[in-house]
Structures are given as structure tokens and as C-alpha cells.
Symmetry: C2
Subunit: 636 residues, 2 copies
């Protein structure tokens, strides 16, 4: 076997962070630059800013009316009106007009009786300085307008200009070199060959750096070559405030990064007790922070947030990542975690009844979509073995809690139409959302039973009666009034390679191919089992019966990549990958729902979507669906 | 009197908004553009985005180790190790390497015994597909990556590229013409003459438009000229998606905007029942929304948020303004409001003990600094006469609640050193803040008594003993253990014009000048009253004794603008405006604090600041301060 860097450390995250930031902090000298105030939105003040002039700049009329000299109006009474002569006793003023001596008060237009073009009458005296906005009422020259290290907002731009500040000293954006490495990675616009990985992390880092107030400088992809990497990092350190190398941060045969950083500078930490995200490198090269981030996108994202963002914050003086809402939620599924590390678990969050429920998403370091789909994350501490279903956990939210509370939660069987419905919902009903988690039909009904979802998409065939869904609800919910919202008829069948080269036409043909199955509890697997039983075929007879894929699309992908010859699934999944499809027959894909949720506004919106022409049009485009009874309610 | 547009309406705000949005909505056709994914951060998807390729693109090793054919390993046992030959029975793989047939499983490096360069031994069989990341595990081609109308985040950029999406269709930024008008307004870089107003609103609008996802196009300032305004708006409508005219939206003699918009199109609303912000114009010109915003900056800001932002949201499909935290707080001061309108009251918010306290800021439409200083606002509904001190109100927060909870709340006498301390605090103690509200010494002690502040800056002279502060605390807090944190000795005196032309040297000289006084309850006023009493001078003898300014700086500004000859105040205020200063004598400016707050971490930080060299250095720069006992604690 080739030589590997087997010796990754397992430093606790807080310790690693504290050690690194303590070492980096004294090295960082914030840089400043002067920008026009009008272009300073979002920038951060270098120091407190003091007004150069007053606002208003002069004593100004606060009302439309006439300017007078207060002491000359003293005799005016209702019983003894006083007549004033224009430009002698008074001047007509609009709001904002300057008030000069001898005038020292304004009388509102409504309180003035116009006699003719030259003369007016008043019936009450004026107090000195009434209805006058004194100079400096809003801003006094010399007054502090903004404190130092303040992120400039739109209102601040206005106030700075009013205070005579046309240019402002702000923190310069730290320049961050981002160096993607790896012989196997390619630019996204290249056509990939077998074994190629599309380079996407560097663009994600660039976006994260921008959001945190830095200036990203993305380098071209470097192949895995020790000298080339060393020379590139060496030059990058000179020209930038900070360097990010991605990846080669682990301990594989071609993971050079740690060796390069040891040669050029000092590696303070290699490997932290965090999952995903263990293989991170925290180094300093000639007084500059250099961070090696792992290649898996979720690891890369978490390590950026944990280590690169706080370093950026030392330059920018502001919190890099907007901290969102926090909430306490019930975890819907047992989570076993290792004692060895802190684990970030991405979750979907929903409000069901009076419970806030967090459902864990895919936990793999490569599951970038779990970050896209997540509403937040919870932390399973180092030294904890995990949490049990039903335990309370703290969630850091990526979305506002308000949005989450306005989300209809579907947990159950997977179908592409759930994506379509989730896409239409907020367009048709702004501020309302549909979230779906895919755990199979039985899994969904279980979640419904535990009060973790509003509805469960399900397609479970009763082997005795041939009727879908109804008997399952009767059996599983003896104490709750349930309904089925009819969904779609969809065609199940065998997903096979183009041209169906193995000529698979029925269940009995599965014994002579490499099959990919769905997970236990999936309606599609129940259907297969039913068909196998009818034909008298045992699981052992099918090569791949034990191989489980979690969605229709995953089945189609396995066939498409030739790691299987056939799998059962829906027509739209086959179509999406240009595969062939052998119809087995239609099935009923419905939504189980407790009757008490039927009246929720979100449910009513959902019903309206199901019945809409827009949705039926999208079904027609997908193919393989019927929608005759879509949106009908069947009480069980 | 000149002709005025006296007939502003008073449409309730929700009605005005609903009416206008209903009219504008059908006119708005979102426009799309295609941008490179790498530059799409913050943009909004035009429609749902589906993956073009799978990720991973192939079946890949999930571990470092060897790829094997599972069925050929079936016989391996601890008691019967199986020897495998390189490139025949196995291949060495690193994480991420592709796995090709005939290999269909990976055995971890740790479980492999290396015999020599060509042969390894295993002691357990492999299951098919173990430690293999199947093609499409993260993303399956055809799967929905992002829904429509989704604001693209850094993680989304990564996932889009991984899914083969290198370009993406997004909503085009709506172009918004911003037309500043007014003969009296000048560009911020011009030297202002008497009567000039620095134009700052248009830059604030530009920043607000940018934040809301629009593209601002700021026009040059137009003088008040009917034809010129009409022609400019006419052209702007053709070239932009939306037009903002500022100001001339009220009913003054030179407020042309409403007439222009009536000539060019339709004015749906002129005047809403909101304060500040009444004189807004909501119009449609040739199918484009045109909004006339008022000139006062607070009115302009509120009306932008209420009317222009929701229109922008129709273009962008996303919430224009990030809605912040909401909280319930006790209002610290009676607020009388008119039945005629909804009122936005800006407040400072602090956590004192177990109470969240909201202190109202300046309510005028011109008080832009009230928006800068505000932590949030509360709404006093139309048809409400206001709220009483101690009532609960709902606050919409501009700052995160977490920040507010980490803020030391000072209410009381004003001094420039409070700004300095507020500036140093978050720099020295990141995440910690000091807020100060200026209500005079007595007002501060009252607030302390009601539990609305942690500490009260105070400088109250006991006329009988000549001792500062102590006797007031003894008298006002009979039931609470109190302490004084010693602050600074500061020199009080007369702020006069340069050269002291009226030769003011003592209190008796005030009878022959125009004076500007401080408000009742201010320590400076108590000092003046004490000096007047000693000299036997009655208030009626001083011209301007009744004229009140709220801060030292406001006093200095009044003298500087020649609306007064003299006022009493501190040396630093005179210095800030280059005025002369006649010393009266030093006084003790301290911080009253209940003993129970002394142990708070925030108080400890505050004490550290008071004792720091950095603070003393800043005092020396300001001038007129002594800090011998600064930070000492005196128990009362």
C-alpha cells in the first residue's frame, strides 16, 4: 500500500478554534480605505464618525405659514386682532425655509387671516421659537454619527451625507486567495470524463467570502503536484491577506497540502473532532492565515463556517455569518453519534400542531443537497452517544422561524410531484411552503402517528383486497379520525436500459438480471413483494434484492450507470434519465392526513394546488400520471 | 397667501397599500436574464432548477482502501484468510476514485493486511456495494435543485455547479429611477449657503433599492420647475421599471409632484394616515409605478419601507426587507398619539433585570438620527390616543435581540464621553454594547427608579452642601442600596461666540444677552439656578431663560448660529464648534447605579473601560475633563 498521512489529530473544535484564533489575532492589522459615502452601503466604519456640519444647517420653518417677531405679537387677542404688514412685520415661509433675525417664531398658515396681498391678521400671540426647527435639531456638528466597526445601512448613508461626510474611511476588504487542487477535478464548463469531479467548492467559498465582507480571488485548478502547490501557496501568501487551499487536507496518498504548509510555515492543527469536517488544516505562513479545507462539500462548508469565517471576522470586525433564529424542537428519529466528535446534523424543521419537529437529513459529508434542503442544524456534542427520537434538541435555523411555521410538512413516499408542488406553493401563496422528507410510505405513516407531519404521501397496496392505502390507515390509526386526500394515479414499472436489452417484461425476468431494490417500507417494495408472492418467487432468487436505493431517481441513476440492469419505479424517473420503462400497472399515490389538519389554511392551499390546472399541466409534462380524483377527500 | 394643495387625503395605510398594490400587480411582468452560476450569489431563480448531471458522476470509493468483487470474497474468515492479487482481485483506491466492474465493493485500508507489493490478505467477506458512494447519491440528474423564486446562497452556488448548471436564469433587477427635486437642495459635495439643504435622501433610496434587489439610477437634482419635472418623469418612466420622485409630495406652494403625476398618469393615493410619512403620492404612469416620497428623511424612509419596498418585491419575488426579531417590551414614557394616524415611534430597547424596556426617541419627521440610534420601532395604531408609561408594546427590532440583551443601558445626563464609551465598548468587548438616552440628570434617576436603566449619568449639585449627586440618591432611593461609579470632573462654563464679544464673565452678565437654557431637570440647569440664586437674579431677568435645548451640543449650535449669544455647557461642546468658553467651575459627572447591578459582566466591562488608558487618552483629546477618581465605586 502507498504511504498515507494516517496521523490526523482529533482536537476538540473549541480548543482548535481558540488555539488558532489566539495565534492569528495578533498577526492581523486591519487595513483601511476611503470610499465615497454614496457607495459605502454594507461597508464597515474604520472608526467613529463625527458630523462636520449641523442638520438642519440653519433655523428653519417647521410649518408652512408666516415668520414673525414674537415680542411684536404680544398684544394679539381674539377680541383684539393684530394686523401685520408683509416684509415689515412678517414674511411668508414654507416648511424648511430659513428664519432670520428679526424673525424668531412661525405662525401656521391655518391661524392666519389673509386681509389682502400685503396684510394679514392674527388673533393670538406667538411664543419665541415656536414652529421653528432649530439649527442642529437632528445633527449637531461634532456629534458622533456612527460608532467604529459599524456596518453601514441605507439610513446611515443618508445621515452621513446630511452631516457633511461625503467620504468615509472603512475597513478594506481582506483579499482571500482560494486555490482549488486535485488532478481529478475539472472546471464546471468542461465535459466530464469517467472519474472526473466537477469543481464547485471554490465558487462556494468565493460566495461565502463575499458574504463575509472579503474579496475572493479564485485561482485556476492545480493538479496534485507537490512543487506546484508549494510555489502557488508561496506566491498567494505574499499577495493576499488569507489563503484557502482545497482540498488535499486529509491523509490520502495524494494529500500534499499539510506537507506543503509544514514546509512553508507552521501547521497548528490538522484534524478536529467534528463530523463532517474532520480533515481541516489550520496553518500560518509568514504571518498570514492559511486554511486547508476538505473536499467533501458539506465538510468544506462546515469548516469554512467554523474556522475561516471567524478569521475573516478578525479583519472585518463584523459577524461574518448572520446568526439566525434558534429554536427548540423534538427530534423525529434516533440519532446515534460517535463519542469521538461533535456532529453537525442537518434537519428539516416543521411546526405540526403545537410541536416543532426536526427531521434529520442525509448525514454524509458528500450530501451537499442536505445543506440546500436543511432548515437548520443541531449539534450532537462530542462525548454524547446521540439522541433518542422524541428528545428535545436546540436548532440553529437557516430560515426565519416565521417561514417554518408557515410550512406544510409532508413525510413519506417519494415522488417528483412533491418537488413540483413545493415549487408552486410559494408562488401561488406567497409566504407558504411545502416541505417533504422521503422515508417511504410506511415511514411516513409512522411519522404521522408520532405527530411529526401534517400529511404522509403513501401508496400501499393491500395484498388481500387489491385496494390502496385505506386498510393501512384503518389498522395504524385506531384512535384518530383519518382522511385520504386523493393524489395521482401513477404508473409503476421496470426502469431498464434504453432498448430494454435484457428484454425484461415481468417479475419472473428479474431472476436473470442485476436488480436494485427500494428500502423496506417503501410502497414500491411492497408492490414488488406482492408481485413476487403471486409468481412464487423468493427474495434469494433475485440478485440485488438486498441492494436498497432511497428514491425512484436513485434507482434510475443506478440503472443509468450500469451498476444495475433493472429496478422498479415510476415512469417520470425513467424519463428524466432517458431510460426505458416497462409498465407494470397504475397505483394510487395519495396523501394520508388526520382529519383535524384538514381545516388548516396550509391544507386548504394544498388542496387548491392539487386541483389547479397549473399542477395538472405539470403532471402532463412529467408523464405517467393520471389526476382524475386529485384533491378529492375520502374520510376513512 | 400663495396657492397651496391643501387637500391631502388621510387614507388608512393598509387601505392605501392594498389599493395601490392591487392596481400595480397586474402591470408587472418580471424580466429574466441569464448569469453565470459563479456570479449568481444573492440573485433569485426565475423558475425551478433541475440537475443536468448526477453527483457523484460515477460509483466512487467512499473510503481509502481496496476495490474488490464482493462475491469473490465470500470465503474470507478470521480462521481462513483470503489472499488477493493486485489488479486481478483488487485495485488500490483513494476516497472518490471511480469503482468499475467487476469491482463492486470497497474494503477499508484498516481491514487489509499487506503481504507484499502485489498481494494483500483479508479476514472478512465484503458485502456488495459496501463503502461505495453510488452515482447520484447526492444529486440525481433531473432532480430539482432549487425551487423558483429562491434567493441563491453560497451553498446553492456549489450545488448548482455540481449538478452541471453553469448558467442560470434569474430575475432581472428592476431598474428604479430616483429623481431628487427642490430648488433649495444641493449636492453633498457643494459648500452650502444659508437656506441650502444637503441632498441625502436619494442616496438613501439608492441603498434601499440595492438592498431590495433593484438597480438604482439616481438622477441629478432638479430645481422646482413644473415643465422640467414633467419632462424628466416622462422620460424616466420609459427607461425604467419604477420611478421615485423626492420630494414635492406635500401640499406647499412649490409642491408640483402631484400635479405632474396627475397630468402624466393616475394618482391613486395622495396622503396616508401615517406619522411620520403622511405626504406620500402613489401613482401609475403608462403602466409603471411612480411614487412621490416626502422630503423629511424619517418620513421618506418609512414611506419607502411601506410602499416602495412592497412594489419592488413584486418584481423580485423576495421579501425586500429582512424582517428582524420581534419582542414585547415595557414602554418607558407616556406616548400621546393622534387618533388621525398610525404612528411609527422609534425606540431604544434594553434588557434591565427581567424587563425589556423601550425608550422612545425623537418623534419628528426630520429626526434622521432617531432612525440611526433606534433599536426598533413600535406602532401606535390609528384610533389610539397613545400608550401610558409601563404599558406593554410590540417592538419590531432593527438589531438582533441577542445584541440588545448584551447592552448596558444608560439613561440620564448627556455628555460626549457617553459616545466615546459606546464606541470603545464593542471594540474592547466584542458583542457588548453601551446605549445612552439623554433625558437630563433627574430624568435619568427617575428612569433608574422605574427599573428602566442599569445606570444614570448624573451631575446634580446639592445647593445646601455643595456636594454632587450623593444627597439626591439618598433622597430618591430610600429602599434600594445604591452606589455611585465616579466618572469625570468636567468644567462647566458659558459657551459664547469666538472672542466673547459681549464680554460675559459671570452669571450677572446673562441679563444683557440672548440666553439659551437647558431643559428642566438637567444638571446644568440646576447649576445655573444655584448660581442665579446666589447672585439674587430672577428668571424673568434673563432673556431666553425659558428657551430650552436638550443637549450641550444643541446649546453650542444655537450660539454658533447666532440665535443665542450664550448658553451654559461643557468645554468639549464649545470646542467641537470652535466657540469660546468661559469657565464657571468643575463639577462631578458620575454614574448612579443600584448595587445589585454592580456585579453584571456588562458593568464590570464598563468599569474596566472607565479605568483604561484608552479612555483617558480620549478624554485628554476632548479637553475639559479630569479623571482622577474615574471608575471608583462609592457606596451610598
Amino acid at each position: 500500500m502507498a504511504k498515507r498521512n494516517l496521523y490526523l489529530n482529533n482536537t476538540p473544535i473549541e480548543e482548535a478554534k481558540a488555539q488558532y484564533l489566539a495565534a492569528v489575532k495578533p498577526l492581523i492589522q486591519p487595513k483601511f480605505e476611503t470610499v465615497p459615502t454614496a457607495e459605502a452601503l454594507g461597508r464597515v466604519t474604520a472608526a467613529a464618525v463625527y458630523a462636520r456640519c449641523c442638520s438642519p444647517l440653519f433655523n428653519a420653518a417647521a410649518m408652512d405659514g408666516i415668520a414673525v417677531t414674537a415680542e411684536k405679537t404680544a398684544s394679539a387677542r381674539e377680541t383684539a386682532p393684530l394686523t401685520l404688514v408683509k416684509n415689515e412685520d412678517f414674511r411668508v415661509v414654507d416648511t424648511g425655509d430659513p428664519i432670520h433675525p428679526p424673525y424668531d417664531a412661525v405662525i401656521m398658515a391655518e391661524d392666519v387671516i389673509v386681509l389682502d396681498d400685503e396684510r394679514v391678521q392674527i388673533i393670538a400671540s406667538a411664543n419665541p421659537w415656536q414652529h421653528i426647527r432649530p439649527i442642529g435639531e437632528d445633527i449637531v456638528a461634532g456629534e458622533m454619527l456612527l460608532p467604529g466597526r459599524h456596518r453601514i445601512r441605507p439610513i446611515d448613508v443618508g445621515v452621513l451625507l446630511s452631516g457633511g461626510i461625503t467620504e468615509i474611511e472603512v475597513l478594506a476588504r481582506p483579499s482571500v486567495a482560494i486555490i482549488p487542487t486535485g488532478t481529478e477535478i475539472i472546471e464546471p464548463d468542461k465535459e466530464p470524463d469517467e472519474g472526473d469531479i466537477i469543481e464547485s467548492n471554490s465558487r462556494m467559498f468565493a460566495a461565502l467570502v463575499s458574504e463575509a465582507g472579503g474579496a475572493p480571488d479564485r485561482f485556476d485548478i492545480l493538479p496534485d503536484d507537490y512543487e506546484l502547490l508549494r510555489d502557488t501557496v508561496d506566491k498567494a501568501v505574499d499577495g493576499h491577506d488569507m489563503v484557502i487551499v482545497n482540498a488535499g487536507s486529509s491523509a490520502g496518498t495524494e494529500d500534499f497540502t499539510v506537507h506543503v504548509l509544514r514546509e512553508l510555515g507552521e501547521v497548528l492543527v490538522h484534524g478536529v473532532a467534528i463530523k463532517p469536517g474532520k480533515p481541516v488544516i489550520l496553518a500560518i505562513v509568514r504571518g498570514k492565515p492559511v486554511i486547508g479545507l476538505p473536499g467533501y462539500p458539506v465538510s468544506a462548508y462546515i469548516d469554512f463556517t467554523e474556522f475561516a469565517a471567524p478569521v475573516l471576522q478578525l479583519f472585518t470586525g463584523i459577524s461574518a455569518v448572520q446568526s439566525g433564529d434558534r429554536a427548540r424542537a423534538v427530534i423525529s428519529k434516533r440519532l446515534v453519534s460517535s463519542l469521538k466528535h461533535l456532529e453537525y446534523v442537518r434537519v428539516k424543521v416543521g411546526r405540526v400542531g403545537d410541536k416543532l419537529v426536526a427531521s434529520p437529513l442525509a448525514r454524509g459529508a458528500g450530501a451537499a443537497m442536505s445543506l440546500v434542503r436543511a432548515d437548520g442544524f443541531c449539534l450532537i456534542p462530542q462525548n454524547s452517544e446521540g439522541v433518542e427520537a422524541g428528545d428535545q434538541v436546540d436548532i440553529s435555523l437557516y430560515r426565519p422561524l416565521k417561514e417554518i411555521e408557515n410550512t406544510l410538512v409532508a413525510i413519506g413516499s417519494h415522488d417528483l410531484i412533491l418537488d413540483v408542488l413545493a415549487d408552486i406553493m410559494p408562488n401561488r401563496f406567497p409566504g407558504c411552503f411545502l416541505s417533504s422528507t422521503h422515508v417511504g410510505s410506511m415511514g411516513g405513516l409512522m411519522a404521522l402517528g408520532r405527530g411529526e407531519a401534517h400529511l404522509a404521501p403513501t401508496h400501499l397496496l393491500d395484498e388481500d383486497t387489491g385496494v390502496y392505502n385505506v386498510s393501512y390507515l384503518q389498522r395504524l390509526f385506531p384512535n384518530e379520525k383519518m382522511a385520504l386526500i386523493k393524489g395521482v394515479n401513477r404508473i409503476q414499472g421496470f426502469i431498464v436500459k434504453p432498448g430494454n436489452p435484457l428484454n425484461i417484461t415481468s417479475v419472473s425476468d428479474l431472476t436473470r438480471c442485476r436488480y436494485v431494490n427500494r428500502q423496506r417500507g417503501a410502497g414500491t417494495r411492497v408492490l414488488l413483494d406482492y408481485l413476487m408472492k403471486k409468481q412464487g418467487i423468493a427474495p434469494e432468487e433475485i440478485n440485488g434484492y438486498e441492494r436498497e436505493a432511497a428514491t425512484h431517481m436513485a434507482v434510475a441513476a443506478a440503472v443509468n450507470s450500469d451498476s444495475a440492469d433493472c429496478g422498479m419505479g415510476i415512469m417520470s424517473a425513467a424519463r428524466a434519465l432517458n431510460l426505458d420503462f416497462v409498465e407494470v400497472g397504475p397505483e394510487e399515490y395519495d396523501f394520508a392526513i388526520p382529519v383535524r389538519f384538514l381545516d388548516l389554511p396550509l391544507t386548504q392551499h394544498f388542496l387548491e394546488l392539487l386541483r389547479s390546472d397549473e399542477f395538472h399541466q405539470r403532471l402532463a409534462e412529467l408523464g405517467g400520471y393520471g389526476w382524475d380524483r386529485c384533491g378529492e377527500i375520502v374520510y376513512i
